[in-house]
Structure formats: C-alpha cells, structure tokens
Amino acid sequence: MERELTCIVCPMGCRITVKMRNGKVEGVSGNTCPRGERYAIDECTDPKRTLTTTMRCENGEVIPVKTDRAIPKDKMFECMKIINSSVVSPPVLIGDVIIENVFGANIVATKNVMQKEK
C-alpha cells in the first residue's frame, strides 16, 4: 500500500510517498531531508503534532502555551481539555513548565508575563 503525504516539518511542504506493508514502512520517497523521512514514518505509524494554544491566567488574561514536543495526534482535544481547565499564575517566563507530563510532553509558556497585569 502507498500513502501520499504532505510534509509539515517546514514550509517547503514536500510531497512524500510512503510504501507500507502490514502496518510497517518499507520505503519513503519524495522527501528532501532526513526530517521529512522521520515525519513520514511517524505519520504512518504513530502520528504526532505539537499543540499550541492559550491558557487562562489568574488575572483573566490569556497566555500562549505549547507542548514542548509533539503529542499523539488523536490526543489533541484531550490535551486542550486539560489546558483549558487549568489556570496559571504569573510571573511566567518563556519555557517555564506549566503542566508536567501531558501525553508525554510538558505544557510550557511561550510568552513572558512578568507581573500580574490588571
């Protein structure tokens, strides 16, 4: 079986063809870099996405956050639920871990909120 993919690793968006047999990857072609190959294999066996969203601050504002690594694609909505039911209290710096170990990733801040703004 062959699967056609659009690589999402970088803005080039390479068209990648993956040859599969019995759920295993036999060959990857069309990618221009090794990261594309890695993506294609993951996408056909264990698809993952980095999630970016916002989280409520105590003061009612929102702060942008992301998963510090890609999480399973089918867990994105569950991850959103966890993030949206949490509240963060400033000060927070870029890279600070806000929630630990959510589907194998940490939720980290992507913006500095130095003090409690009103």
């Binding site: 999402i8 970088c10 968006g13 916002t54 942008p64 870029i94 992507t110």
Partner: protein, 411 residues
C-alpha cells in the same frame, strides 16, 4: 535630530534596528503604535517560525522575544503607544502619544516597517445584510489569542490564506465547528503544510473555486450562501448552497500599510502595494528605507528579518555618508512573474532578488535576461503564488545592463 527613526516595532522594525546598531549607529528610535514590541507575532501563537533564522521551530511570541532581547541588550530607544501621523520628504516625523502629546522628530534616515493590514469585507462587495459575526481572520485571532474571547461557534472561512487556515485549526481546537474554507482560486494561497495540519487533520473541507455570495442574518450572522465560480470568477447560479453558521472569517489578502509612505512622497508599486526599492531597500526618497510586510507581503517572518537586516545595514551606511547611484539597472518581469523586490539596482554587488509568480507552474526555468542574452537560469520543480521565490544575481551580470528581465519559461 535623531540618526535613525524606525516606524514600527514588529519583526521588521526590531531586526532593522538591531542591524543598524551593530553597524555602529548609536542614535536609534523605534516608534511603535502598540503597547509592546513584536507586532502581529504576539497573536501568532502557532509554531513554524524561525526554521531558517534559528534552525528551530518557534511560536510567534517566542520569535518576537528573540528580537526584543536584542533590542534591549543593544539599548535601542523605543517609544510604545506612539502613533506616527505624518512623515514629510525632509524626514520630519509627526507623532503622538499620551505622555508627549503631539510632537515632531527629525531623522537623518527613516526605515518604514509598518507591516500590512487585512483586506476588509468592504473590499469584496459581498451581498446581503451587515450583521455581527463577520471578522477578518486576524481580528478573530486577536480576540482569541490576546483577549481570550471566542468569536463564534459555527464558522465559515472565506479565503485560504495562511491566517485563515491557522484560524480554522485554532477555532476547531477551541470547540468551534468550522464548516468550510472557500477559496475562489483553483489553488490555495496558503502553505501546503497548513492545508495538511490545519484542514486535513480536522476533516475541514477546502472548497476551491468557491466563494461567498451572500451573508444572511439580522443581528448576528445566521448563515452564508456559497457558490462555485466559473473561469471568469462569476458565481454559477445553479451551484448556490446555504450553509448555516454564526461567524464568517475573511482571509482574503493583505495590503501593505503605506499611508505614511505616500505622505513622504515615496513612489509605490501598483503590484506589491509597497515602495519601489533598490537592492539596499532604499525608496525613491533619499534616506527613506522600507522592509517587511510594508514593502511586500511575505509568507515567512524569517525572510522579513533578513530583509530588515539589509535595510538596517543600508540605513547605517547611508547615515555614515555612503552614496550609491553608481549604476541604474531596472529589474522587470514578464507577467508570469508578478514582481521582484528590489525593482531597481543602484550599486554593483551580488544580491538576492525575491519574486512571486502569478499562477501555479510545474517544471519551469527562471531566466534572467539582458537584452537577447540569458545571463542566469534556474530550474524549479514547482512554483506557486503563495510561496516567495528568490534568485541570486552576481555583480558581473549587471555589466552593460540597463534592464534585467526575469522570465518564467515552461518546459
């Protein structure tokens, strides 16, 4: 009198300021309309920024922070919450803020870095009522990502530019149902990766050759009528269909924000909507430079930063007294290539020329022609309007040239 004043503290303005400072210009002032630096990056919380510049995948706020840090470390003056109202041809800037009221600043050199704005509903002539719930995609992005308000629950998006695609995913993750993304063209203006990870991941249909022909609803949007368009982009009556929704997002193009440039007498390009510039990103007005989305709309911020460095370095050399105008070569295009930046060359050196094509083409050659002679040729597997291309000219190609023509040859 200030040496260098930069209008706009987004990615272009910050990168230009840092470059000029490193070239020895101490007296720099950034004027920024918003309450913080970073510009539109602050609301672009998704990742995918910085792969070229920093070899890592950053979110918008993280990318902005890398430049904010530089601006701080280099002790570059910034005035926030400051609106520039006028620039004249003598580089006298009139601005206003709540502390100083109305004031003027004279500059030896100015860098225009005001960015762009979204094409609004008014530019589209969509029939129907004028209810609440029609937003530009960027406005919805600001509501959601900066203020934490959800703009709607059932959404149709018109236009498949990157902001529209990103918002389709964002709204879906926050619980909205995005029913369709309509694109009047036969192809999307957004990056292929965004079609994949923002639409396909969530099963959101991309309806090519479709547009919104009517908006329904009195107080709030109650639905839109969409239709397929024919080759001359006219809606086909028999294909009209109603989609129930409470929100319509518009992602139908960006327009460089050049009101100030016009006041300063800067010549603008009818194609890009931005200034006509030379290889140094100097405009038609001596000592006024332009970079970033105010010059031409970019798809990647990394290229904005690169361009702003060119403008910052050039402005620094200008302030130190260096003059160009050694040569005068016009860069022209054949229509399949829509435009180039720069449009003119005034100094003999190697340079990268950026350009955009007018349609999707496969297996093409980009030729640079001086009269009958092809001085440079580059093969490309695929080019598309949504992806900015570039080609590097060597200084010797400028010999005996009054005009270099960029042509796209289909093979």
């Amino acid at each position: 009198m200030r040496d260098l004043v930069i209008i706009g503290g987004g990615p272009a303005g910050m990168s230009a300021a840092a470059a000029a400072r490193r070239r020895g210009i101490r007296d720099i002032l950034i004027l920024e309309r918003d309450g913080r630096l970073g510009g539109i990056l602050n609301q672009c919380i998704h990742n995918g920024f910085g792969l070229h510049k920093f070899s890592e995948e950053l979110t918008g706020p993280e990318y902005a922070w890398k430049y904010e840090e530089q601006v701080k470390e280099l002790n570059i003056d910034c005035m926030l919450n400051t609106m520039v109202l006028d620039i004249d041809e003598n580089k006298l800037i009139t601005a206003t803020n709540s502390e100083r009221g109305l004031f003027t600043v004279k500059a030896k050199a100015i860098i225009l870095a005001m960015g762009c704005r979204e094409r609004p509903r008014g530019a589209l002539n969509i029939a129907g009522t004028r209810p609440a719930g029609v937003y530009s995609a960027g406005t919805a992005q600001k509501f959601l990502n900066i203020h934490g308000y959800m703009p709607g629950k059932e959404v149709v998006i018109l236009g498949s530019g990157d902001i529209g695609l990103i918002m389709a995913r964002r709204m879906t993750l926050e619980g909205a149902k995005v029913k369709a993304v309509c694109e009047i063209m036969p192809y999307s203006g957004g990056l292929a990766r965004n079609i994949e990870q923002c639409l396909n991941d969530f099963g959101i249909p991309l309806m090519l050759r479709h547009t919104v022909v009517e908006i329904h609803g009195e107080k709030r949007v109650e639905g839109v009528t969409i239709a397929k368009v024919d080759k001359s982009m006219r809606p086909i009556e028999s294909t009209r269909q109603f989609i129930k929704c409470d929100t319509l997002l518009l992602s139908v193009g960006l327009i460089p924000e050049n009101e100030l440039s016009e006041k300063a007498g800067v010549e603008l390009s009818a194609v890009t909507g931005g200034a006509v510039v030379d290889q140094d990103r100097q405009t038609s007005v001596d000592g006024i430079f332009a970079c970033g989305n105010v010059l031409h709309v970019h798809d990647l911020v990394d290229f904005v930063s690169d361009e702003a460095e060119i403008a910052g370095n050039s402005a620094a050399e200008y302030i130190k007294g260096k003059k160009n105008d050694v040569i005068s070569v016009k860069l022209t295009t054949d229509g399949k290539i829509r435009y180039t930046v720069p449009q003119t060359v005034t100094a003999k050196k190697d340079m990268t020329v950026y350009f955009r094509v007018s349609d999707v083409y496969r297996n093409v050659r980009i030729n640079v022609r001086n009269g009958d002679k092809v001085v440079l040729s580059k093969k490309k597997q695929r080019v598309a309007p949504g992806e900015m291309e570039n080609i590097t000219l060597k200084s010797d190609m400028l010999d005996n040239a009054a005009e270099l023509r960029l042509e796209l040859e289909e093979m």
